[in-house]
């Protein structure tokens, strides 16, 4: 393919400017000395200090992280199990289950959110009217329903990243392990899991990202019992956002940037090492 000319390079550059202009604005105004989000009035760190005093935002941050981590753990385990199960099914049942698995991914978020909200409200109502009133317990939408919703939309991503790895696996090695006397569990742990581990890890990261980033589904399923960061931000945008949010997003941006940089430098190194190994192998042959 031919190389890029000036025009193409300029196009790429402009796209980057478009993507980063608002983020730059957010970051710059997190250091602004006044509440204004358009007029610069001098450098200050006061929004960062205020942020660490704001219990609402900090609580929401904790909830977000708790939900994302818990949802990631549960969905990675359930999703990996399901992927192995799907993989060992016959074609037809697998196709049907995969189609259902794709529903939360292809449906608009608002529909997933609304439908889960109906389920939770319906279930809570039915429980409160019967068993709940009997024992004087009342369930409401909150942390638990939020967690259930997050697990529901996270699992499909785990399955989609584990299944291709299972496809790449050589079925003979697992059989070999079992022929050599390994129990199925041991064969899974020592032989299959190392093979699919990149897929499982990738799925976990995807699940975590989806959870951290979600607003719409959380908004409909958390009721008034729990609040994530995105919900807190949304509540603030309806009044007037405090620049604390700018400070928070700047911090999050730096964290994500660092994480991505570390992960990518590591994978770049691994790729290089793998290329080297391959070259060596080829020489030997």
């Amino acid at each position: 393919m031919k190389k890029n000319g000036i025009f193409a390079r300029l196009g790429l550059l402009l796209t980057m400017v478009f993507l980063y202009a608002p983020i730059l604005v957010l970051i710059v105004f997190s250091f602004n000395d006044s509440k204004s989000r358009t007029v610069w009035q001098g450098f200050s760190l006061k929004w960062y200090l205020k942020l660490f005093d704001d219990s609402r935002i900090l609580n929401a941050l904790v909830t977000t992280v708790e939900i994302s981590v818990l949802a990631m753990i549960v969905s990675t385990i359930l999703g990996t199990m399901a992927a192995i199960g799907f993989f060992n099914m016959r074609k037809r049942p697998r196709a049907i289950l995969m189609a259902i698995n794709n529903i939360p991914m292809t449906n608009a978020d608002i529909i997933t959110g609304v439908s889960l909200m109906l389920l939770f409200v319906f279930a809570a109502g039915a429980f409160n009217a019967t068993l709940g009133s009997l024992f004087g317990v009342e369930i409401r939408l909150g942390f638990f329903t939020l967690l259930l919703a997050h697990i529901t939309f996270d699992i499909p991503y785990v399955i989609l990243s584990v299944l291709p790895k299972l496809n790449q696996c050589d079925p003979n090695i697992e059989e070999a392990a079992q022929d050599l006397g390994a129990t199925p569990w041991l064969a899974f742990r020592k032989v299959v899991f190392p093979e699919i581990r990149p897929g499982v890890l990738n799925g976990a990261i995807m699940a975590f990202t989806m959870s951290i980033d979600d607003f719409v589904i959380s908004y409909f399923t958390a009721g008034s019992g729990a609040s994530t960061l995105a919900m807190e931000i949304y509540a603030m945008t309806r009044k007037r956002i405090s620049p604390e949010i700018n400070a928070l997003s700047t911090l999050l941006f730096v964290v994500v940037l660092t994480l991505l940089a570390v992960v990518n430098i590591r994978s770049a190194r691994e790729e290089k090492a793998a290329a080297k190994r391959e070259a060596l192998l080829r020489q030997k042959n």
Partner: protein, 282 residues
Amino acid sequence: MKKKYLAIPYVGWMAIFVIVPLILVVGYALINRDGQVTLDNFRTMTQYLGAFTTSFRLAIIATVICLVIGYPVSLWLAREGAAVKRIAMIAIMLPMWMNFLLRTYAWMSLLENTGIINTLLKNIGLFDLINRVFGTQLSYFPMINTPGAVVLGMVYNYLPFMILPIYTVIDKIDPKVIEAAEDLGAPPVMVFRKVIFPLSLPGVLSGITMVFIPAVSTFAISKLLGGGMTLLLGDLIEMQFYGSAYNPYLGSAISLVMMVIVLICMAVMNHFGEGEGEAVYF
């Protein structure tokens, strides 16, 4: 124990948290407040026809703009070296990790009447120039609270969803195929039309899906950038569940109709796309 049974917990999970909720949506759409079966919800919906057309119109515009920007960007990216590709990919994905409400909010500061873009244009004397030439009394460009701002917000938030699949597909095209076309004397435009574009079609289709669906159902973007002036389907649904207009039955009916229309659009597009792909292939 057979390994396929490992899927049982998740199959149960899907039944409860994917299938039952959708059945509930259908059920709620078909009843009224008193629990009677009725089609009234669908009849009431006709008064919101405007929200349907606005939503689909804005989402289609945003999807087309994303495609027009995203396709060349993906093509150019695929031509860069490995290092540039890697960095550009991170750069494109990074904003996706920041909450979209924050990014949309940042556009408010840029687009406001006294916002950063208008201040900048004022300071370079653009408005003075225009006023002198045309005799107008312009002191800012109205950008925020317009449908255009909503489209901008959609394009900004969903552009990465267009670039990523198209780029992935183009990047995987075997360079030998392109070289073969060139060796056989195809000029660049023909190489693109006959080789690169048909091969990139699957990426284009998934890009369109990934942009169009969130765009047509968005509700926060229109609230922030449209100032509530443009009522979209997402806003309408949200109002039925959380707003003063509390009416989950109507909300379910609107959700159902939106879901069906989107599904039909996607099916038609995929069918059409397959036909195109085949027509060029054979």
